[in-house]
Amino acid sequence: MNPERFRVMVSTVLLVGVSVSAALIAVGFGASFAVGWQGSLLGSPASSIAPTDFGDLPARLARLEPLALSQLGLVVLLATPVLRVASSVVGFALEGDRLYAAITLVVLAVLLSSIFLVR
């Protein structure tokens, strides 16, 4: 992979992550004005979950709750930098730069461990 394509790949990962998250957040945000944050676009009864509780996301997404849509968007946004680092590992490896593929892999490992282990 040449440096130009590598840059385009990383840039695209960031752009897609940002666009998907912005779309989800915007739909949830807009829908909150119609049915309220804890309401449902399918007309299900309003949930009583705390807005800061990100649990049980799939079930609440299935009911098209504005809160759940925005929460998923925020999770995608927070995951975008991780995806960017992961794609850089692949990019440096394909570019044949072993030193930087290794450096980036270490960064990814520290990043993942700090997300999942440090509590």
Partner: protein, 282 residues
């Protein structure tokens, strides 16, 4: 604020657009604008304001970095190399957080930041530094060039004083793990001040890095219940719009203008740190 009213939402959105523009140009996360605005103007709880600021940092970073990476202003090698320092530093910071007096650290950092602001004033006239690559810079491939559309030419650069820059970055990571503030400012200072990279490269590469630093602690804030979508949603949307706009501007302005935008941010962060040390929570 319990339930967002349209007026409040619009206000938060507009403040966030401003934070995104300034943050993307200065290479910082915009927390310095978002947190005080949310707490003082909109009466948001400080805990939720900090949660929203983590979202704002990642939105600034990812929103602008897409353009900066494509335009070759971000140096991805320097960024990844220094992320080794910031991520390990952040883990150390989180571990020692229980044993350190935050107020003393805030005071010390505030003074350091204000001192660097004075040094920045002395360099306001500098457009691009000129240096030959050192052996370490060659070995680590920390020399490159970026296209400066304002100057209309390719500007070569090479990282100087790499061990010092790396150490400062590690410290920036410790600080963000410990205090969750000021990591963008310290990153720009490490690259611009210690490593003598061009201001635009420093700011764009810092912008690229802060998202990763923030993502490392985002999980903690999420699980603690500090991210409230009712506040974080308008912040994220506003900051993204601002960051994308700011990224378009960077190509058109000179390095000196970027430094002039960075300088007030630096002073504000320094004063806020000293204010926090003095117990005035902003």
């Amino acid at each position: 604020m319990i339930q967002g009213t349209p007026g409040t939402d619009l206000g938060i959105f507009l403040v966030s657009v401003g934070a995104g523009v300034i943050g993307s140009l200065a290479g910082v996360g915009g927390g310095i604008l978002v947190i005080p605005a949310l707490t003082t103007i909109f009466g948001v709880d400080i805990r939720l304001a900090v949660g929203a600021s983590i979202v704002s940092v990642i939105a600034t970073s990812s929103g602008a970095a897409s353009a900066y990476v494509r335009d070759r202003i971000t140096d991805m090698r320097i960024g990844m190399f220094l992320e080794l320092a910031t991520t390990t530093g952040a883990v150390c910071g989180a571990i020692v957080a229980a044993y350190v007096t935050a107020s003393f650290l805030f005071l010390l950092l505030g003074l350091v930041v204000l001192l660097s602001a004075a040094m920045q004033v002395a360099r306001l006239r500098e457009e691009v530094p000129a240096d030959e690559p050192s052996r370490l810079a060659s070995a680590l491939k920390l020399s490159a060039s970026y296209p400066d559309r304002r100057l209309g030419r390719e500007v070569p650069y090479s990282a100087r004083r790499i061990p010092l820059g790396f150490a400062m970055m590690w410290f920036a990571g410790v600080v963000s793990g410990l205090l969750g503030i000021g990591s963008g400012v310290l990153k720009v200072l490490a690259m611009d001040g210690a490593m003598r990279l061009p201001m635009k490269v420093s700011s764009a590469t810092s912008n690229f890095m802060i998202g990763v630093t923030a993502a490392a602690s985002a999980g903690i804030y999420l699980s603690r219940g500090d991210v409230d979508p009712r506040i974080a949603a308008p912040v994220a949307l506003g900051v993204l719009l601002g960051a994308i706009t700011g990224a378009r501007l960077l190509n058109r302005v000179s390095n000196r203008v970027v430094r002039m935008i960075f300088l007030p941010v630096l002073v504000a962060v320094g004063l806020e740190m000293i204010g926090r040390a003095a117990g005035l929570s902003v």
